[in-house]
Amino acid sequence: MLEVKGVNSFYGKAHVLNDMNFEVAAGTVVALLGRNGAGKTTTMKSIMQMVRPRSGSIIYKGHDITTWPSHKVARNGLGYVPEERRIFTQLTVLENLEVGRQPPRDGCTTWTDEMVFDLFPNLAERRNNRGKALSGGEQQMLTIARTLMGNPAFILLDEPSEGIAPVIVEQMARVILQLKSEGLTVLLSEQNLHFAQAVADGVVIIEHGTQKFVGTLSDLQAQPDIRDQYLSV
C-alpha cells in the first residue's frame, strides 16, 4: 500500500534521513521504532510531503506522491496524526473535528462526530470545550479523532503513547487494534517497545536517520541483541 524508496531528507544542510526503504502492506500495523531524534517524525512528515524528500520517492497505492502538496496527499486517504498534539486550542472539540472533515471515500469508513465519540467517550462530554481546556490524554484522542474525520485509508500515528497516563495508553492500543480490524492500515512511531509489541505486525528500527532493521515483530523478538542495541527497553 505504501512504499518508501530510497528517501533522503534534509533540514537545510543537515542530512536527517538517509536512504530509507520500507513498505507497509494494506491492513497491517507497522511500528517505526527509534530513540528521540532518530528521524521518526521526519519520516512521517516526508511521507506527508510536509518535509520534501530531496531524493527517493514515496509510492502510495501505485501513485508517486513525492511532488504532491500535503493537502492532496491527505485528500487521497493518508491521515497524519502529529506527535506534539497539534490540536487547534482556540477551537472547540466539535470545531476541531470539523476542520478534519472530508467527503466520503470509497472503501473507507465514513466517520461522523458520533462515531468518533463512541470510540473516545471522554471527548463526547467535552464536545463544546475549547481544545486548550482538554487534558493531555484527551488532546491526544482529539488529534486521532480529527484525522479519522477525513475518512483515511491509512493513518500515520506519531508517538501516540508519549506523555500520557498508562490507562490511556491502554485505551490507545485498543483503539489502534479496532481501527486495524476495520481495515485501516497504520504506520506508527514509538520509543516504547511494549506499546509496539501490543499492536504491531511489522517493525522498522531507525537510528541517526538510517534504518537498522526491517522485519516482522517475531523476527525482532528472535534477535534480542538488535533490540538491546537500538532501543531503550
Binding site: 537545510g12 544542510k13 506527508m48 510536509m50 502538496p69 500535503s70 493537502h71 491527505a74 485528500r75 497524519y80 502529529p82 497539534r86 487547534f88 486550542t89 482556540q90 477551537l91 470545531e95 476541531n96 470539523e98 476542520v99 478534519g100 472533515r101 472530508q102 480529527r146 484525522t147 477525513g150
Partner: protein, 620 residues
C-alpha cells in the same frame, strides 16, 4: 448635552469605514501572517470604483448597489494581487512581504492617477438620505445614522461567518496552525486567496461607504493606513470585536479632539495607542503572538567577515574619487552627492538595526526628521551656530530614541513595527500641528551653515567626512562583540538570554545608536537645504529608507548605503517620468520575487560565480 450626543453619533458613523478596513487587515494578518500595507490602497480603490459606479447606476438601488459592487470588485483586485505578488513570497521573511505590498501601494497610486486623474472627487450624496435629523436640536446627517445602523450588521455578518461556518472554522484553524490544516486536507492556497478576497472587499466596502462623507482622493491610502494600524493594534491583531471597539474609541476621540483640541487630534490617537500598549502589549482584546522559534526562512545568513583586500582597495578608490569630487565637477554634482551621502548615512543607520538586530522599524524617519528639527529649532530660537547644532542634532535624536526604543522594545515583531510607526506619526503630527513652534506645514526656514561652510564644496566635505565616518562606525559596531550580541539576539533571543546577554538592553543600545546616526544625517540635511518641513518626518520617508535597505540587500553588511546611493542617484532621473511610481512599484515587486538578495547580494553572487570573489568555506 445635545452637542455631546451629536458628536458621539458622528464618531460612531466615522467608525464604520475604519472598522471595515481594520477588520480586513486583521483578518488577512491572522491567516496569512502578512501585514498588508496596501490595505489603504484597496480602501482608496473602493472609493474610486464606487464613485465611477455611482455615476452610471441611478437612484437609491444604484447607490447601494454601487457600494456592494465596489466591494466585490476591489476584492477581486485583491485576489489578483494575492496570486501574483504574495503567493511567491509567503515563505520569505516578513520584511520581504511588507516591501512587496509597499510596491503594490505605488502601483495602485499611479493606476488611480491614470484612471481618475489628480483632482479630488466629491462623493455623491446618498439618494433619500440627503437631509439631517435633529437630535436635541443638533443636526445629525441621515447618512450618519444609516452608517451607524449598517456597521453592526456588517460586523455581525462577519462574526457569523468566522465563528459559525465551516469556512470560518478553517480560517480560525489556519490562524493557529497552517501546516496542520494543510495536512488535514485543506488547500491552504485557496484559503489564503479567499481570506484575501474578503479582507480587500471589506476595505473596498469601507472606501465606497464613506464616499458621501469624504469623497475620493489620491492621499486616502496613507491617511487611513495610520488610523487602521492604530485601530488594529489597540483592538488586538486578529480580534474582530477588538477592531470594532478600537474603531469606535478612535473615531469618537477624533470628533471630540476636533472640537476641543483641534491642535492635537493626530497626536491624541497615537498617545492612546501608546498608553494601551504599555498596559496591554497585545491590544485590548488581542492574544499574545507566539513568535516562531524557527528563525529566518531561506538560506542561512552568512557570518560577517571583514572586507578582503580587493574590496578594501575598491572602497579606498571610491572614497578617493568622492574626496576629489569638488575639484573636477560642477556645483550640481556636488550638491547631488551631498544629498546622496546624507541619505546613505540615514539608510545605513536603519540597515544597522534591521540587518544586524532584526528590528524592523517603520518609523525611522522620526530620528532623521527629529535630528533635523532639533537643529533647526536650536538655530531658530537660540541662534545656535551650525557646529554646535550638528552636535546637538544627533544627541536629541539619540535621547528620543532612548525613550521611543524603551517603549517600543517592550513589544516584538509586528507590534514593534507598528509602535515605531505610531511614534513616527506622533512626531510628524507634532511638527505638523504645533504650528506656533515648528511652523507647521510652512516648516522652518533660513537654517544656513556658518559663513566658513557656506560654500557648497566646503559643506560637501563636512558631509563627506561625517557621513562616511558614521557609516564606517556603524560597520565597526557590527564587527565588534556588540554586533555579535545583536545578531545573537536577532537569531535566537532565548538562547542569547540563556547565555547571559541582556537582549533588550542590547536592542535598546542598537536602536539608540541607529537613532543617533539618523539624527546626524538629519542635522546635515537641514543645513544643506536651509529649511525643514514636516514631510521629512512622514511615514513615507521611513519607507524610503526601508526600500533602499531592502533593494541594497538586507542580509549583507553594506546593503544600506549601497541601496541608498543607487536609489538617490537615479531618483532625480526617475521622477521626471509622469508614472515613475508605477515603474518603481513594479520593479520592487519584481526584485522581491526574483532577486531577494538585493543589489549587494546579487553582486556578491555574480562575483563568486565569475571567480572574482572567494566563496567562503562554510557557504559551499
Amino acid at each position: 448635552m445635545g452637542l455631546f450626543i451629536a458628536q458621539i453619533l458622528t464618531g460612531l458613523a466615522n467608525a464604520g469605514a475604519l472598522f471595515m478596513v481594520a477588520s480586513g487587515l486583521s483578518l488577512i494578518f491572522g491567516v496569512t501572517r502578512v501585514v498588508n500595507f496596501a490595505h489603504g490602497s484597496f480602501y482608496m480603490l473602493g472609493a474610486y470604483v464606487g464613485y465611477s459606479l455611482m455615476q452610471v447606476l441611478p437612484g437609491m438601488v444604484g447607490f447601494w448597489g454601487a457600494i456592494l459592487l465596489a466591494g466585490i470588485i476591489v476584492g477581486l483586485i485583491g485576489v489578483i494581487v494575492e496570486i501574483c505578488v504574495l503567493r511567491p513570497v509567503y515563505s520569505a521573511p516578513e520584511l520581504f512581504q511588507l516591501v512587496a505590498t509597499f510596491g503594490v501601494i505605488l502601483v495602485i497610486q499611479d493606476l488611480a492617477l491614470m484612471i481618475w486623474g489628480p483632482q479630488d472627487l466629491l462623493g455623491p450624496r446618498a439618494p433619500g438620505l440627503k437631509g439631517v435629523i435633529r437630535i436635541m436640536g443638533e443636526p445629525v446627517p441621515q447618512y450618519d445614522i444609516a452608517l451607524i445602523v449598517i456597521t453592526p450588521f456588517v460586523a455581525f455578518a462577519l462574526w457569523y461567518l468566522i465563528t459559525k461556518t465551516r469556512i470560518g472554522t478553517l480560517v480560525r484553524a489556519a490562524t493557529q496552525d497552517r501546516e496542520m490544516v494543510s495536512a488535514l486536507g485543506v488547500n491552504q492556497a485557496w484559503l489564503f486567496t479567499g481570506v484575501f478576497f474578503l479582507g480587500c472587499a471589506l476595505a473596498g466596502l469601507g472606501g465606497a461607504l464613506q464616499l458621501p462623507k469624504g469623497g475620493a482622493d489620491l492621499l486616502m491610502d496613507f491617511t487611513i493606513l495610520g488610523s487602521v494600524f492604530v485601530v488594529v493594534v489597540i483592538g488586538g491583531m486578529g480580534s474582530l470585536p477588538g477592531a470594532y471597539l478600537a474603531a469606535v474609541i478612535i473615531s469618537v476621540l477624533n470628533v471630540f479632539g476636533v472640537t476641543y483640541a483641534p491642535q492635537s487630534t493626530l497626536v491624541l490617537m497615537f498617545l492612546v495607542m501608546v498608553v494601551v500598549l504599555m498596559f496591554r502589549p497585545f491590544g485590548l482584546l488581542g492574544k499574545e503572538e507566539v513568535a516562531g522559534e524557527h528563525g529566518q526562512v531561506g538560506e542561512p545568513e552568512r557570518p560577517i567577515k571583514p572586507a578582503g583586500n580587493r574590496i578594501r582597495l575598491l572602497v579606498a578608490a571610491g572614497l578617493l574619487i568622492l574626496g576629489l569630487l569638488p575639484l573636477y565637477s560642477g556645483n550640481f554634482a556636488v550638491v547631488l552627492v551631498t544629498d546622496i551621502l546624507i541619505f546613505c548615512l540615514f539608510a545605513a543607520s536603519l540597515h544597522f538595526m534591521l540587518g544586524q538586530g532584526g528590528l524592523v522599524s517603520f518609523g525611522h524617519a522620526a530620528f532623521f526628521g527629529g535630528g533635523a528639527y532639533a537643529a533647526a529649532l536650536f538655530v531658530t530660537y537660540a541662534d545656535t551656530p551650525m557646529e554646535l547644532a550638528l552636535v546637538l542634532a544627533p544627541i536629541c535624536a539619540g535621547l528620543a530614541a532612548i525613550v521611543i526604543g524603551w517603549v517600543c522594545l517592550r513589544s516584538t515583531g509586528v507590534y514593534f513595527a507598528m509602535l515605531t510607526l505610531a511614534f513616527g506619526q506622533l512626531l510628524w503630527s507634532l511638527a505638523f500641528q504645533w504650528g506656533d513652534v515648528t511652523g507647521g506645514d510652512d516648516g522652518l526656514v533660513n537654517i544656513w551653515p556658518s559663513d566658513w561652510a557656506s560654500d557648497n564644496s566646503v559643506y560637501y566635505y563636512i558631509a563627506f567626512f561625517l557621513c562616511t565616518g558614521g557609516i564606517l562606525l556603524l560597520r565597526q559596531a557590527a564587527h565588534a562583540p556588540f554586533g555579535y550580541a545583536m545578531r545573537a539576539a536577532r537569531d535566537s533571543a532565548r538562547q542569547a538570554e540563556a547565555m547571559g546577554i541582556n537582549t533588550k538592553r542590547i536592542q535598546l543600545v542598537a536602536f539608540t545608536f541607529a537613532g543617533i546616526m539618523a539624527g546626524l544625517a538629519g542635522g546635515l540635511f537641514v543645513f544643506s537645504k536651509g529649511s525643514i518641513f514636516p514631510n521629512e518626518l512622514e511615514t513615507a520617508r521611513s519607507f524610503d529608507a526601508l526600500i533602499v535597505v531592502f533593494l541594497g540587500g538586507v542580509k549583507t553588511l553594506s546593503g544600506g548605503w549601497v541601496g541608498a546611493a543607487f536609489f538617490e542617484g537615479i531618483k532625480d532621473y526617475l521622477t521626471r517620468f509622469e508614472y515613475w511610481r508605477f515603474a518603481l512599484g513594479l520593479s520592487i515587486i519584481v526584485v522581491v520575487i526574483l532577486g531577494p538578495e538585493g543589489i549587494v547580494g546579487s553582486l556578491r553572487k555574480a562575483g563568486e560565480r565569475f571567480g572574482l570573489l572567494k566563496v567562503p568555506e562554510d557557504a559551499k
